[in-house]
C-alpha cells in the first residue's frame, strides 16, 4: 500500500480483498473432542479472538470461512467432515488443531482413528499440542492471516 499526500490510499483490488478476508475469518462451530473445549476457551473471556476478527462462530458451514478441526477424527466421522468441508463456500481454510488431527496423536495405535485430517481435507495451518493452548490456536489463526495476505509467517 502507498499513502498519498492528499489523504487517500491507493491499493490493488486484490490487496484490499486479502486485507478484508484476513480480518474477518469466521470460524465454523465444529467441536469434535478435547480441543473443542480449548477452542471455546479461545473464544471466551481471557483469549478473546474477536481481537483478530474471528469472534463470529457460525453454526452453518455455508456461512463460515474457516474450519478448525478440533479433536480426533474417527473413521466414522471422516465422511461427515468431508461433506461439511464441501458445503463451505470458497475461499475456505482449514486449521488442524491438536496432534490427533495432525497424525493420530496418542490414538495412532488404534483401529478407528484417521491418521491425520490431511488425508481427508487440505490443511492450511497445523497447530500441535494435546490439546494446544488457546494462545497456540490464536497464533495459528494469525499465521493463517499472514498466509491469506501472502506474507511469510514469522
Amino acid at each position: 500500500m502507498k499513502t498519498g499526500d492528499a489523504g487517500f490510499i491507493t491499493t490493488t483490488l486484490e490487496n484490499a480483498l486479502e486485507w478484508g478476508r484476513s480480518n474477518s475469518i469466521w470460524p465454523f462451530t465444529f467441536g469434535l473432542a478435547c480441543c473443542a473445549i480449548e477452542m471455546m476457551a479461545t473464544q471466551a473471556s481471557r483469549l478473546d479472538i474477536s481481537r483478530f476478527g474471528s469472534e463470529v462462530f457460525r453454526n452453518s458451514p455455508r456461512q463460515s470461512d474457516l474450519m478448525i478441526v478440533s479433536g480426533t477424527v474417527t473413521k466414522k466421522m471422516a465422511p461427515r467432515l468431508k461433506r461439511l468441508y464441501d458445503e463451505m463456500p470458497y475461499p475456505k481454510y482449514v486449521i488442524a488443531m491438536g496432534v490427533c488431527v495432525i497424525q493420530g496423536g496418542p490414538y495412532n495405535q488404534g483401529y478407528s482413528v484417521v491418521m491425520g485430517v490431511d488425508r481427508v481435507v487440505p490443511v492450511d495451518v497445523y497447530v500441535p499440542g494435546c490439546p494446544p493452548t488457546p494462545e497456540a490456536l490464536t497464533h495459528g489463526i494469525m499465521l493463517l492471516q499472514d498466509k491469506i495476505r501472502k506474507r511469510e509467517g514469522k
Binding site: R46, Y111, S112
Partner: protein
Amino acid sequence: MEGQLNSRYVELNMGPQHPSTHGVLRLKLLLDGETVKNVEPVIGYLHRNAEKICELDYYCDSLIYFDRMDYVAAMNMEVGYLEAAEKLLAIEPPERVKWIRVIMAELNRLASHLVWAGAFGLDLGMITPFFYFFEEREKILNLFTEICGSRQETNYMSIGGVYQDFNDKIIFKIKQFLKQFPKKMEGAYSLFIKNDIFLSRTKGIGILEPEVALSYGVTGPMLRASGVPYDVRKDAPYLVYDKLNFDIPISKGKDVLARCIVRFEEMRQSVKILNQALDKIPDGPYFNPKAKKSLMIRLRGEGDVYARTESPKGEFGVHLVGDGTVKPYRLHVRSPAFKNLSVLPFLSRDVLIADMVAISGSIDLVFGEVDR
C-alpha cells in the same frame, strides 16, 4: 409402511455437527409437526478405542487415555483409574497424596460444572453467562498450569503418588481463588435463576422419575435431581472423603431446572470441601517409594478389581483385570455419561424440538467418555 407414503411423521437428523449436541452426538428424531415422537441417539463418532489401547500399555501409561475420556474433568478420571490400579497393584498412596488428590479432583469438578453451565446457557440462547463461567474456569486452569504444567489434560497423578508436591504458595493461591469464587459464581447463577425465559424453558421439562432413573442406571447430578441421595463420595467413601464434612444436594424437581440447581449446589459443596481440605492437608512424602519412576514400568498385577468414584457426571467405574504381567489383561470403564444418555429417548417423548435441546444439554454429555 413399506411402499406407502407416510406424510404424518418426518424424520430429522440432528447432528453429528450441531452446536447443541455437545460434540458429536447424532439424534434421529421422528417428528409430528414440532413434537418429537421418538429419539434415537446414534453414538460412536468419537470412538477412539481407549480401552483397547490401555491394554497394550503399561499400567502407568494408561493415565493419559483417562485424561482424554472425560476431557473436561481429567483429574476425576485419573482418580478413578488410580483407585482401581492401586488396588490391583497393592500400592497404597501416602496420606498427603490422598488429600492432594481430593483437592485436585474437587477443583476439576468445579471446572467441569463451569463448562457445563456455560454450554447449557449457549444451548438455551444465553451467551453472557458463558463468558463469566469461562473466566472462572481460566483461573482454575491457571492453577493447574502452575501445579502440573498443563492446562486441561493434566496427567498429574501417577501410581502411588502425584507428579509434583504442593507448596505453600500453591495452597495460598487456591485459597485466594476460593475467596472470590463464590461471589462470582452466584452472580452468574443469578443470570440463570432470575431469568424468566430461562425458568420457562426449563421448569417442568424432561421429567425423570426416580424409579426410571434407577432402572436405567442413571447416576450423578441427574439422579440426585430426581430426589435420590446417591453419591459415591458418601456411600462408599474413597480417598479421604469420609474425613470431610459436606452434604449431598438433592432436589425434588426432577426436571431440567432441578438438574441445574443441583449442579450449582454441588459447586458450593466443592468449595466447602476444598476449604476444609486445604486446612487439613498433612505433611509427608508425595509418592510411594515402591512406585518411583524407575520401578514404575515393572509393576505387575494379578487379579480382578472394580473401583468406583464420583466424577462430575456420575458414578465412574473402572474394571481392571491383571494376568501377572506388566500390562492389564482387560480394562473396562463404566461411563456415567453413556448410562445417562440412554435415558434420553425416555425423557424426550412428546416434547417440542426446542425443549429437546434443553434436555440433552441438561444431561451433561461428554463424548470422549460416551464413546471412549
